[in-house]
């Protein structure tokens, strides 16, 4: 983590904003003076006041992760003003779908071989059956990230139910 604002130099945020870096500066722990570009990117895309409000709404032990994700998204948006980091999500989702199809097809091949090679009721048959379900199991094990596919949402506002696993007070936090 970065040096605190008590030390010699102000944090990158206060340096950028040309203001005094006070002891309770919310940016200081996460924007060290050695990484000026990090804050510059975040400020350019999101704005310092928005970031400050965001950080104040989450718990201190989660703020570093939040800042790092904001920094990543800001850099992505600067490099790709049209899609930002959502482009990567779209590409990865398609990869996952393609891999799932390939797994299904390959599992079908495997089961054909297995059923031809071995007698019914062999333990290996059930093992190969469960193999292809690992992707679905993996999906359900990461249920806290149930996200819609980008560009497929029709009415986010109406369907938005308030499922906030990351909000303070959640049992996970």
């Amino acid at each position: 983590m970065a040096s605190s604002s008590y030390s010699n130099s102000p944090c990158a945020a206060c340096k950028f904003l040309r203001r005094k870096c006070l002891p309770g500066c919310i940016f200081a722990p996460y924007f060290p003076p050695e990484e000026p570009q990090k804050f510059a990117n975040v400020h350019k895309i999101f704005g310092a006041s928005n970031v400050s409000k965001l950080l104040n709404e989450i718990q201190p032990h989660q703020r570093e992760d939040a800042v790092n994700s904001l920094a990543y998204e800001a850099e992505a948006r600067l490099k790709d003003p049209v899609y930002g980091c959502v482009g990567a999500i779209s590409v990865l989702q398609r990869q996952v779908l393609r891999l799932q199809k390939e797994l299904d097809a390959t599992n079908a091949d495997l089961m054909r071989y297995a059923s031809n090679e071995m007698p019914q009721g062999y333990p290996g048959n059930s093992g190969s059956n469960q193999m292809g379900r690992r992707m679905n199991n993996a999906d359900s094990s990461f249920g806290q990230y149930e996200y819609p596919s980008p560009y497929y949402m029709s009415s986010w506002d109406n369907s938005f139910s308030g499922d906030h696993p990351d909000k303070p007070g959640d049992s996970n936090t």
Binding site: C85, L92, R94, R134, N137, D157, F160, D163
Partner: protein, 296 residues
Amino acid sequence: MTLKGGTSQACAACKYQRRRCTADCPLAPYFPADQPKMFQNAHKLFGVSNILKVLRQLDPSQKLVAMKSIIYQANIRDKYPVHGCLGIIQQLWYQIQLAEEELQAIHAQLAFYRQHQQQEVSTGLSDSISQLQLGMATPSNALSLFHQDAPQNYDNTVSALPIGSHPTYSSNSANAANYNATYMDSKENNAVNSLWVQQPPYNNSSSNINSNPMVMQSQLINSQPLIIQQDCGTQDYDEMHPFFDTIDDRQSYIASKEAYESSSESSLKDTTQSVEHVAENELKSAAACFSLTSVN
């Protein structure tokens, strides 16, 4: 706030900001009045001025797509305030890694099955051939026949395994596997750059990701010569137990990423060793059968 004497409603952006929504309001096309939450999320994350700044530098044809991505990003950030889109990206990378490892294991199994099938076919042929040869040839000739074929078979058996050969679409995953939530400065952009593909979401032209290394391997398998082998195939069924044991064991590690990664690597190694062990056993048993006949 409605227009004077007009029937059209102010867009969600102008409603939120409590100002008049003019005909040329730049945000009106993207924030309909009946979805105020959408604008609130976008405003909370980006702010109106930053959204307008992004829009200003884009072509008119790109504005709709850019706004959709901004709205999506803001909604995700509202749902997951700590990790936002980065959490989803990391989860997707992990799913891809799991799927790739699973595919590798299945292909290894398939290769083993195909080889086993070919051996069964060749055993049926070789039985009739070997009976003719043993009746016509001297024992020393039969021994040289074995020496001629056995090393090649062993090499092909080992090289047919897809061990260590990653599909080319995983070239990005090698970088992403090391990617964590820490900020990457401009010097460490390799993994970040590898994720960005400049194409619209409906375009299926991601053919730069090649998924055909398995075709190469299947050709390799089909080119194996027939193995001259005595009736020593009963132990093949015993040797297949390690495959299914490793696969079943791996399922118990779904909840733990680190444990899974270490176990999948070791299970792949176990798979390699067990198949190599099979090849060695076949050679030894074949050698034993022939040694009985090599009497001078």
